[in-house]
């Protein structure tokens, strides 16, 4: 029987840079800044850290972190799981302290995208350069096309449903001083915005950002030595796609099977039977509005094909029964690839400490973070549940 991570690793401090187009910040700047905040929060120094896991998609490896922090001959491992690299770093650090190999580990995620000189992500190509031409928005747009078709939504109805997701995230992001995009928008603005990849418009897409986030993880028996309220890892499940959805006709392209499976496994690991009732808040991988919509269904927050009802009822608003993206999400906090998975835990961390200011949710118990890499038919999805 596989073991469980539940309550076997605890977060005692976190840090996160402001996300955005950080023209004056290099990767080492961001690594130093996020790490310093996390260490200070935990009340330790870099010398106390015994091992580091670093998540980055385009980064140059763990060596960069060691170099940035001038670590003194410590083990540093760079992990990569596409846009899910952040959670992968947390997984490495959590498992290491759970195994009792180390007492204190640092999980760090970073990405410096804005030095590429061109908008968007590099490397959407295959070995033979015959990959179809669409951008990442296009790949997810095809999920929206299919979702609208399957559930009988006209383009207007579908876009309106998705638009409300973005309006909500912008509302939350406006309250977050570290977010990349900090202004409220109206549904009219969303619907009137230029089309990026039909049917997705500008406001259906997340920001392309620089940023870094870090977490200090320790053995649970050590938590009393730290000043903060410890936040325990309750579940950490990663599900990699067999990538058959683009080959075989059984995949419906209106859900992400890997998210569904990772959710089921995570709920089981955490002992959750009614996620919609038991989860206090969620940070999901809303790279595009349609991704958040189907994720609500994949994670069993909404019944299949009926997320529209919950969106319209305001369920996922900050004031709703299950706030989603209270920090603005990828949509507004921004999406520095490797950092996003850890940023998704930063908001729960602040919420549990009661430090989320205007975004503060009352009495959170369990928070879910959903980190997804790659296309809907070929992703790796991680679901991490943390709580008190």
């Amino acid at each position: 029987m596989p073991g469980s991570i539940k309550d076997r690793a605890a977060i005692v401090g976190m840090g996160c840079t402001k996300f955005g187009e950080l023209w004056d910040r290099g990767p080492t700047d961001m690594i130093v800044d996020a790490t310093n905040e996390a260490l200070e929060d935990a009340g330790i120094t870099i010398k106390d850290v015994q091992a580091v896991w670093a998540g980055s998609l385009f980064g140059v490896g763990g060596r960069l972190v060691s170099e940035a922090l001038r670590l003194q001959y410590k083990p540093v491992t760079r992990v990569e799981n596409a846009c899910g690299s952040g959670h992968e770093a947390v997984r490495g650090a959590s498992y290491a302290v759970a195994a009792g190999i180390y007492d204190i580990c640092l999980a760090i995620g970073y990405e410096k995208l804005k030095d590429e000189g061109a908008a968007g992500l590099p490397g959407m190509e295959n070995r033979s350069n015959t990959h179809y031409q669409s951008s990442m928005p296009g790949v997810f747009a095809m999920m929206a096309t299919r979702y609208f078709h399957r559930y009988g939504l006209s383009p207007e109805e579908g876009k309106k449903m998705l638009g409300k997701i973005s309006v909500k995230s912008h509302k939350n992001g406006a309250l977050n001083p570290k977010a990349h995009l900090r202004r409220e928008i109206t549904l009219e603005q969303v619907l009137g915005a230029p089309i990026i990849a039909w049917p997705l418009g500008l406001f259906d897409c997340c920001g392309v950002s620089d940023g870094c986030a870090a977490a200090v993880l320790v053995r649970p028996d050590m938590v009393k030595k730290f000043k903060n309220k410890p936040v325990y890892v309750k579940a950490l499940q990663i599900c990699a796609s067999p990538t058959s959805g683009r080959l075989v006709t059984t995949y419906d392209y209106t859900h992400v099977e890997e998210a569904h499976q990772a959710g089921i496994a995570a709920y089981k690991e955490a002992g959750i039977t009614n996620p919609r009732e038991e989860i206090s808040m969620a940070e999901v991988h809303d790279c595009f509005s349609i991704t958040e919509a189907v994720t609500m269904e994949d994670l069993q927050f909404s019944p299949r094909g009926r997320v529209k009802e919950d969106i319209e009822a305001g369920t996922f608003e900050l004031t709703g029964s299950l706030p989603v993206q209270p920090d603005g999400g990828l949509k507004c906090f921004g999406h520095p690839i490797g950092a996003s998975g850890i940023r998704m835990l930063y908001e729960p961390w602040l919420q549990f400490q009661g430090r989320a200011d205007k975004r503060q949710i009352k009495d959170p118990k369990l928070a879910l973070a959903h980190n997804m890499g790659n296309e809907p038919y070929a992703p790796v999805v991680s679901v991490c549940i943390v709580g008190l």
Partner: protein, 481 residues
């Protein structure tokens, strides 16, 4: 009996009104439209499409040779016919050759194919020709010429038109030419080119082949030969050779719709003649340029049994008229364009595309022997070969399965304005093939406004990328023409 056993043609979907050239530059507009290869087409892809039309119901594995004729080869050094053998699904143990540089390269290839089969060196040889020539902007040549292709299969079984005889004359006189550094066609003085070359060589070749076959002009049902830039000279040459206007394969049928398609013009006119031919008809085809080639064919009963092809007629009828001349300039990269502000495309990996040539150029996938699922994987990491079944995980227990001729329907799509493409938006579709299998492809020859879930599509061979002298070819989906 040696002769033509099948034919096919290809005309790009896009047409430009000749008056649009005049709107851009002023001057005199010739009547009609000309065909314009889309930005993802070149002479190689168009010849493949013509070849696919020719082979539509035939077994390509029985063909022993492929001759590709063009004056606009995508390569100076590298054989195109050996690339084309993959999309045409020919065997590797065949004779391949590219025949280039002369405007009669198409008929030369046809004569060579005939000689090869007649000599017994091959049972059948496929001739595929196409051209995408460029006249410099603002000139008459730009209006006169057009893009297109033709294909003829020469063989000994089920001959629809028996070759009665051939004749060639050679002369170094160049009516038009392009030197090693020339992108656009150059030409000599009209009167010299027309009167000293065309109007002399063409009748000479006609007389030569008639004499060789023991026939007179009156014995010919239709004479198919390419018109020069000024198509009126076509009639002059025919008259000189003793033909009545009624005997001429109408050059205007093509000229007004496609333009003069370079070395593919005479073969396209021959295809057009065969489309209307009856058993017993005698057809003469002449191709000119630096001399002339001529061939006389006698149509047999077998022509009545050849299933219909798209040929020139259906290809001409299926079209969209371009909205302006600028599109033509962009597709042919005649004027520099601002680069998209997107990450650069990676270089072509020669080893990777070679390794996957069967999957990429031939559109071969697999069918699992255990669960029976057809599969094609144009993946993020690699395009096959598939080693593990995506459905039942069986390993290496597959039969080859070809997708190139299968129809499909659109399962989902996007119109991507962000992707860096020559003619935005990038229309991308996830399609499901009849008989099973699904894959993503770029959608070409489309009106973005008409793309929808459930739309029927078919596969077409296109160029994707030009990088350091290499052209990367692959398949795209297109709405059924």
């Amino acid at each position: 009996m040696v002769g033509i056993t099948s034919y096919g043609a290809y005309v790009p979907w896009h047409r430009m009104k000749r008056e649009d050239c005049v709107k851009a530059w002023g001057g005199f507009a010739m009547p009609g439209e000309r065909a314009v290869a889309y930005y993802d087409e070149d002479s190689l892809t168009m010849a493949v499409e013509a070849g696919r039309d020719c082979l539509s119901d035939l077994d390509p594995k029985k063909i022993d040779g492929l001759f590709f004729a063009t004056t606009t080869s995508p390569y100076k050094e590298r054989q195109c016919s050996s690339i084309m053998a993959f999309p045409l699904d020919l065997r590797p143990d065949i004779r391949t050759a590219d025949i280039n540089t002369s405007l009669r390269a198409g008929t030369t290839a046809l004569l060579l194919a005939h000689d090869t089969v007649k000599a017994g060196s091959a049972g059948s040889v496929l001739v595929a020709c196409a051209d995408v020539r460029l006249g410099a902007p603002a000139g008459m040549i730009e209006q006169q010429i057009g893009d297109g292709g033709a294909s003829l299969l020469m063989g000994t079984e089920n001959v629809i038109a028996e070759v009665l005889g051939t004749f060639s004359i050679s002369d170094e006189l160049a009516g038009t030419w392009r030197g090693d550094d020339d992108r656009f066609i150059r030409s000599g003085e009209d009167r010299f080119v027309m009167d000293e070359a065309y109007v002399k060589f063409v009748p000479q070749a006609m007389a030569g082949v008639l004499k060789k076959c023991g026939l007179a002009a009156k014995d010919i049902t239709k004479v198919a030969f390419d018109p020069p830039g000024d198509p009126r000279r076509h009639g002059t040459a025919a008259k000189q050779a003793g033909f009545d206007p009624a005997q001429l394969q109408d050059p205007y049928a093509l000229f007004l719709n496609t333009g003069i398609t370079g070395c593919a013009m005479a073969p396209m006119m021959l295809v057009a003649a065969l489309e209307d031919a009856k058993p017993g008809d005698v057809i003469m085809v002449v191709g000119s340029g630096n001399g002339a080639d001529a061939m006389i064919l006698k149509v047999t009963e077998a022509i009545t049994k050849l299933p219909p092809r798209r040929g020139t007629k259906e290809n001409i009828a299926s079209k969209v008229v371009m909205s302006n001349y600028n599109e033509y300039l962009r597709w042919r990269e005649i004027v520099p364009q601002e680069a998209a502000r997107r990450p650069d495309k990676q270089h072509i990996r020669l080893a990777a595309v070679w390794r996957e040539r069967k999957e990429l150029l031939g559109l071969w996938g697999i069918k699992c022997r255990q669960c029976g699922t057809p599969q094609y994987d144009n993946g993020a990491a690699t395009t096959s070969p598939i080693r593990v079944c995506a459905v039942c995980q069986a390993q290496d227990d597959f039969d080859d399965y070809n997708f190139a001729r299968r129809k499909a329907t659109v399962f989902s799509y996007t119109q991507d304005n962000l992707a860096a493409v020559t003619d935005p938006p990038a229309s991308v579709v996830l399609i499901e093939f009849e008989g099973g299998g699904r894959a993503f492809f770029d959608l070409t020859d489309r009106d973005p406004a008409k793309v929808e879930v459930g739309m029927p599509v078919e596969m077409t061979f296109r160029k994707l990328q030009y990088d350091r002298g290499l052209t990367n070819y692959f398949w795209k989906a297109r709405p059924i023409r």
